[in-house]
Symmetry: C2
């Protein structure tokens, strides 16, 4: 059900022939009427045409939209003016079929960078896509947006009268493509546009920013949230209902985040890196991401080998304010660095206790930098043969 | 010959039992008398005891030293006060055997982080090491400092009366260790200490800073240069002799850099990333390193698959000032991005011409960002199954 679990939304997904595989590759999610919408977008300076278009439309409408048209197969990035034109034409034609205004739909694309959208196939498929929209179409939509994901990713939560639903596609990079993380979250709470944005920034942004598969930022990454108001009830910041809604957004975000991490390309272990005691939140983020993204930490996790020196190396090179003599590190519950020193006993036991923690499906590494207030979590994955195979062996 | 090619140096290398393999693991390089010495050290905040000791001694002596004691097997990093003590005792004992002052020798270590130096074996081996010092000992020294390197790395050059020699150990990370890049360059020119430092910063620093195997900065990286004056002739900045000496330093540095890149862990292709037209040198460096370090570019090189989108992704996320619409990219001589757009013809031919360039042993990628003066080269390598095996499969 995912994005159509909240009332006031319909969705659909069809196979339009955008992907050579013949799998579903065109999805549409719409509210019953234009409604508050919020977006979080990639920080890469190279941005796909649909990213620029969605940004522009949300800015022009003051945070309202009818829904979003999503294709997989081509990323519509590095496609120049033709790519801009294609994104406009595709969304305007879909909106026309819905009886809506030409700027009412947002757009997302994921797939090969540089390859133009297969526009003829896309336009041919639109009437069928629109006619198959339904209140039970969330799962079909979720299936249409994936690329190398092995599973579609859906989540739902309830908060009193309110429902929240979400789906995502992941952090698989299909060569010659890039990972594109697309996340869609819906609610039937009646919200002011600014309030939906606030909710998305508070509950979704920190989660999806914490995820690193290989340190690369896609040209297409997008998180979109929609609030249909279909529950017939409003939520205002500062109320108990708002608090419950925040919690439901966070639950849906956390579920999708964990699904993305566990389906990352070639993953055999998920990394959960918690940093505390940093001078600032920004410092904590630098360190947690540096550890989660380090090829040496990632290969150590693949090998199930506890390796405090590699963690320390990443901490010291993260670019944060760090006093090496004040660093403590745990793998699971096992202390492996104390005051910047690896306990000599570690090598006598060959780190047996830490090894067990390093071989768990979820590897938990905790880094304490000092007594500061900054804390952050990064979620990553190991670096396996399969990652190299997926991204290296494929040739166009 | 390498470091003993210039007159006025002796060197030796022995198997002291520091490494379990029984291979040579203790090296000593000394000038006939304390002479100008210069050092370039890792920027990681977590620094090994020998790095701190060498820095401290060069600062205290105003850039003079007798030589350097190097061990492989243990990195003597994250070893706390015991590590500091061990480095002092080892160098003082070697200096005593040489009839020199206790602070006259510098120190370098490479190997397991956190494991204490095997001091008893090291001290037992010192008399034999000192007695085997010879003017032909450069190659034995070069062999004693390597870890997972498949070959020792030596270079030499002449500049009129002057000789320059060098050796290096590389950018293999031996699990559970880290890569430690150690480089030693000697000359028999008579130089003021400040002038040697200037020579090292001008000719060695840019080269060894351009190398990235996996974006990780070791706790032990060190480049040391010594000038014995053994040629009996001096070189002063601004003279023709100085220019020739600079060129010889650059040649030795470039040779060692290329040897390091071609022996990187699991390497099957070397990446040469040239960036031009950046707003500043710093921006050019950010971009060239981001492309060379990108796991997506590295796996594409492993697969021999030209992939302009992956290169663009790395350019846009590098943190430099970039106008995406002004970016041009070539793989070899083949244009694959023009004005931020991948030419549509690229996908029709499946990038055949670029594919050939991508399958060469040295993959050359050129990125032009605009009309600015900034340029930079980064040297990297691909990401192969073998890299994952070396760093993942090994368990302590």
């Amino acid at each position: 059900m995912s994005v159509t679990f909240p009332r006031g939304f319909r969705a659909a997904g069809v196979a339009a022939g955008m992907k050579p595989s013949g799998n579903p590759d065109l999805g549409l999610l719409v509210a019953d009427a234009p409604c508050p919408a919020a977006g979080l977008f990639t920080t890469n300076l190279v941005q796909a045409a649909p990213v620029r278009l969605s940004r522009e439309r949300l800015a022009a409408s003051g945070g309202r939209a009818l829904g979003v048209l999503v294709n997989s197969g081509q990323a519509n990035a590095a496609t120049g003016p033709q790519g801009e034109h294609d994104a406009r034409v595709a969304t305007a034609r879909a909106a026309e079929l819905l009886g809506a205004g030409p700027d009412d739909l947002l757009a997302c694309s994921t797939g090969v960078i540089g390859e133009p959208l297969h526009m003829e196939r896309l336009l041919d498929a639109l009437p069928g896509l629109v006619s198959s929209l339904s209140e039970g179409g969330g799962s079909a939509f979720a299936r249409a947006i994936i690329t190398t994901d092995t599973l579609s990713k859906e989540a739902r939560a309830e908060a009193g009268h309110f429902r929240v639903g979400g789906c995502a596609k992941g952090v698989g990079m299909i060569a010659p493509d890039l990972a594109t993380m697309l996340v869609f979250v819906t609610t039937d709470a009646a919200l002011a546009p600014g309030h939906l944005d606030r909710l998305a920034r508070a509950t979704l942004e920190p989660r999806f920013e914490s995820l690193t598969v290989d340190g690369c930022r896609s040209t297409n990454d997008t998180v979109l949230a929609f609030a249909s108001g279909g529950s017939g009830e409003a939520a205002e910041p500062g109320t108990a209902a708002w608090g419950a809604l925040e919690e439901a957004f966070a639950d849906v975000g956390e579920s999708l985040l964990q699904q993305l991490a566990h389906d990352a390309e070639g993953v055999t272990h998920v990394l959960l890196i918690d940093v505390e005691g940093a001078a600032s939140t920004e410092d904590a983020r630098l360190v947690s991401r540096a550890v989660a993204a380090s090829p040496l930490v990632k290969t150590a996790a693949f090998g199930g080998d506890p390796n405090p020196g590699r963690i320390l190396q990443a901490v010291g090179a993260a670019g944060a304010e760090v006093d090496p003599a004040g660093v403590d590190v745990w793998i699971g519950d096992v202390p492996v660095v104390q005051g910047g020193v690896i306990p000599p006993g570690f090598f006598e036991t060959k780190g047996a206790a830490a090894r067990e923690a390093m071989q768990a499906p979820d590897v938990r590494i905790r880094v304490r930098l000092g007594g500061g207030p900054g804390r952050s979590r990064a979620v990553g994955c190991d670096l396996s043969y399969e990652y190299v195979r997926i991204n290296g062996e494929y040739t166009t």
